[in-house]
């Protein structure tokens, strides 16, 4: 089966000021050759610590950052090579729920205007907008009347529902969710995770869910990819990865209590866990590990498994 969306060998870099009193910039690699795919109806979780590049991956897919190298293929078409009008047609099939709902929506707009905004770019007539608004609000369990209110009057959980409604209004096939529960309380976070599970069943959606919390991702993802410093270090079926994490960094995320050393990551060496990895060899410092297939749709980037 060919994937619905796949990224292949994707590189993204940012220029940041050198800092101190030094002038000029230095280049920070956010993604260093990421290859991942999600099939129709499948849910892929992406986990990793701060700065692992997981949010950048989603931003690259919807065109908020420009990759330096690599391709993003949606249903056989390379998005990065398409013209603007074709790209717009594809992007309506990809919904994006950004991190921190309160920061990503205009507090001066009404909830209704925020939710239908993606339709304006597509030129959908006013009457169908109203109709679509009603149906997406129902999908995310929000009352119809909320359309007239301001985002500031809503609780964090309701704001997140509004953000999900906005992503759903173009009837996407794929939903990209960036830390959908990180800013929420335990009980609200459970409500959102349940909602995501239900939506997937009713609408047959595919997800890419990014989070630093492997447990909440495992609740909604069929497969999970672990990222460290812009690289995917392991990707496989969620139950396999959680029951028996293979890559040293996956072990850190799955069972932090079993790891004695401080698991710091080093961007200067070929494999980010080189400094503390129990299996390190000389080539781990200089040569980047190739993906090794260890099971069905289960890859580990580690020389130890070759």
């Amino acid at each position: 089966m060919s994937p619905l969306l796949s990224v292949e060998d994707l590189y993204v870099a940012f220029r940041t000021p050198k800092g101190g009193l030094g002038l000029g910039y230095r280049v920070v690699w956010a993604l260093r050759g990421v290859s991942l795919g999600v099939e129709e109806g499948e849910s892929l979780g992406v986990v990793g610590g701060s700065g692992s590049g997981k949010s950048t991956l989603l931003k690259a897919v919807i065109g908020l950052v420009k990759p330096l190298k690599g391709s993003i293929i949606y249903q056989g078409l390379d998005i990065l090579k398409l013209g603007w009008s074709q790209r717009k047609r594809i992007l309506r099939e990809i919904g994006y729920v950004p991190q921190e709902p309160s920061q990503s929506m205009d507090p001066k707009m009404s909830v209704g205007d925020i939710v239908v905004e993606p339709l304006l770019a597509l030129g959908v007539p006013r009457r169908s907008q109203e109709h679509l608004l009603g149906s997406v609000l129902e999908l995310v369990d929000l009352p119809r009347e909320i359309g007239g209110r301001s985002i500031r009057e809503l609780s964090g959980g309701m704001q997140q529902r509004v953000a999900i409604a906005r992503a759903l209004i173009t009837k996407p096939k794929l939903l990209l969710l960036d830390e959908p529960t990180s800013s929420l309380d335990v009980s609200t976070s459970a409500q959102i995770l349940n909602l995501l599970k239900d939506l997937r069943e009713t609408l047959g959606l595919s997800y890419i869910v990014v989070s630093h919390d492997i447990d909440s991702v495992s609740y909604v993802a069929d497969r999970v990819a672990v990222m460290a410093l812009g690289m995917v270090v392991e990707v496989g079926p969620t139950d396999r990865v959680l029951a028996e994490p293979l890559h040293p960094y996956t072990r850190v995320l799955v069972d932090p209590e079993k790891v004695e050393e401080e698991a710091t990551l080093d961007p200067e060496v070929a494999c980010p866990v080189y400094r503390w990895c129990p299996w390190r060899e000389d080539r781990c410092a200089t040569e980047r590990p190739r993906p090794v297939e260890v099971g069905r749709r289960h890859l580990v980037m580690c020389w130890n498994y070759l």
Binding site: G19, S50, S187, A190, L193, N194, D239, L253, P256, E257
Partner: protein
């Protein structure tokens, strides 16, 4: 057991535009010296207010009632608060947002020296430097960090510096208010592990405030579940995690995703009531699946096991 913290019918409220709003309601708790005690609950339940009261960091518009003793000294008695001499040497707070508590214009070493000098009087240069290095080694930071400015540090390192600053005056009681909420999953764990190690090594009494019950497991001997300004259940950590009795605690535990368990997460309908809008009787009543008539009266404490206290009329029916 020697008590580090004892509160008796301690209430805390804030004087706001609408009048006086009580946030913490007649809290009675006892924490022994060297114990780690966790306060869990949703946002807006009064966890931070309890922490700030113990740390002596309430704003001027706060009103208190009841008694709070720290290491045998009365810190709060009725509406009076006497924290001078207690803050620092006896009790400190580790802030929620480490970045906001560090001075961007001073190096880490200068900030640590500043705190040391304020609490220990004038120190010789060599002595100050020695103590700074000792503090950095306590929080497992390399000695070079003393020469560095806060912006050069990562989030996890900033939190370690904030912990070192808190420990500088050699306190007895440490209040850690969501010390890990700004960090990613692994750093959360590594900071929690550091706090636990420090608590044991230095014999600290630790008040750990979090909404993450799984983190409490690593850190705390005992847990109090707080709802709407009241403790609803208090027990040893294992008893809470494996034998919770209060319906709120049970729902809270079932709302957390557990790995390899795809069972549906518990939906706790609604949200905690805002302070000042509490119903009489049990405050969890409107969201409780097993509430009944009797819950309109204030629940009385029931001892369901050794040191396991629950405030619920219907605990047998859950």
């Amino acid at each position: 057991m020697v008590l580090a913290i004892r509160s008796y019918r301690l209430s805390v409220g804030y004087e706001v535009d609408e009048g006086l709003v009580w946030v913490v309601d007649r809290l009675s708790l006892e924490v022994g010296v060297g114990e780690s005690y966790c306060l869990v609950g949703e946002s807006g339940c009064g966890k931070s207010t309890i922490g700030n009261t113990i740390a002596g960091l309430l704003p001027p518009y706060a009103v208190t009632d009841g008694i709070l003793e720290l290491m045998g000294v009365k810190a709060v008695e009725g509406r009076l608060r006497r924290f001078n001499g207690l803050r620092g040497r006896v009790v400190v707070r580790i802030p929620q947002d480490p970045a906001a508590s560090l001075n961007p214009f001073l190096t880490v070493g200068e900030q640590l020296e500043e705190v040391l000098k304020a609490h220990l009087g004038q120190l010789t240069e060599a002595e100050a430097r020695r103590r700074v290095q000792h503090l950095l080694s306590l929080v497992k930071l390399p000695p070079e960090v003393a020469e560095v400015y806060p912006h050069q540090l990562s989030g996890g390192m900033k939190q370690r510096v904030a912990i070192a600053l808190a420990l500088a005056p050699s306190p007895k009681v440490v209040v850690a208010d969501e010390p890990t909420s700004a960090l990613d999953a692994y750093l959360k764990f590594s900071i929690a592990r550091l706090l636990k190690a420090l608590q044991l090594a230095l014999g600290l009494t630790l008040i750990f405030i979090t909404h993450d019950l799984t983190l409490a497991r690593y850190v705390c001997d005992r847990v109090a579940v707080v709802y709407a300004g009241r403790v609803v259940e208090e027990a040893r950590t294992v008893d809470i995690l494996e034998g919770a009795v209060h319906p709120y605690t049970k729902l809270l535990l079932r709302a957390v995703p557990r790995r390899l368990n795809s069972g549906r997460l518990a939906d706790i309908p609604g949200a905690p009531p805002p302070p000042g809008r509490y119903l009489p009787g049990c405050r969890f009543r409107p969201r409780c699946p097993i509430a009944s008539e009797e819950c309109t009266k204030d629940p009385e404490v029931v001892e369901v096991g050794e040191g396991h206290r629950v405030y619920c009329w219907r605990w047998r029916s859950g």
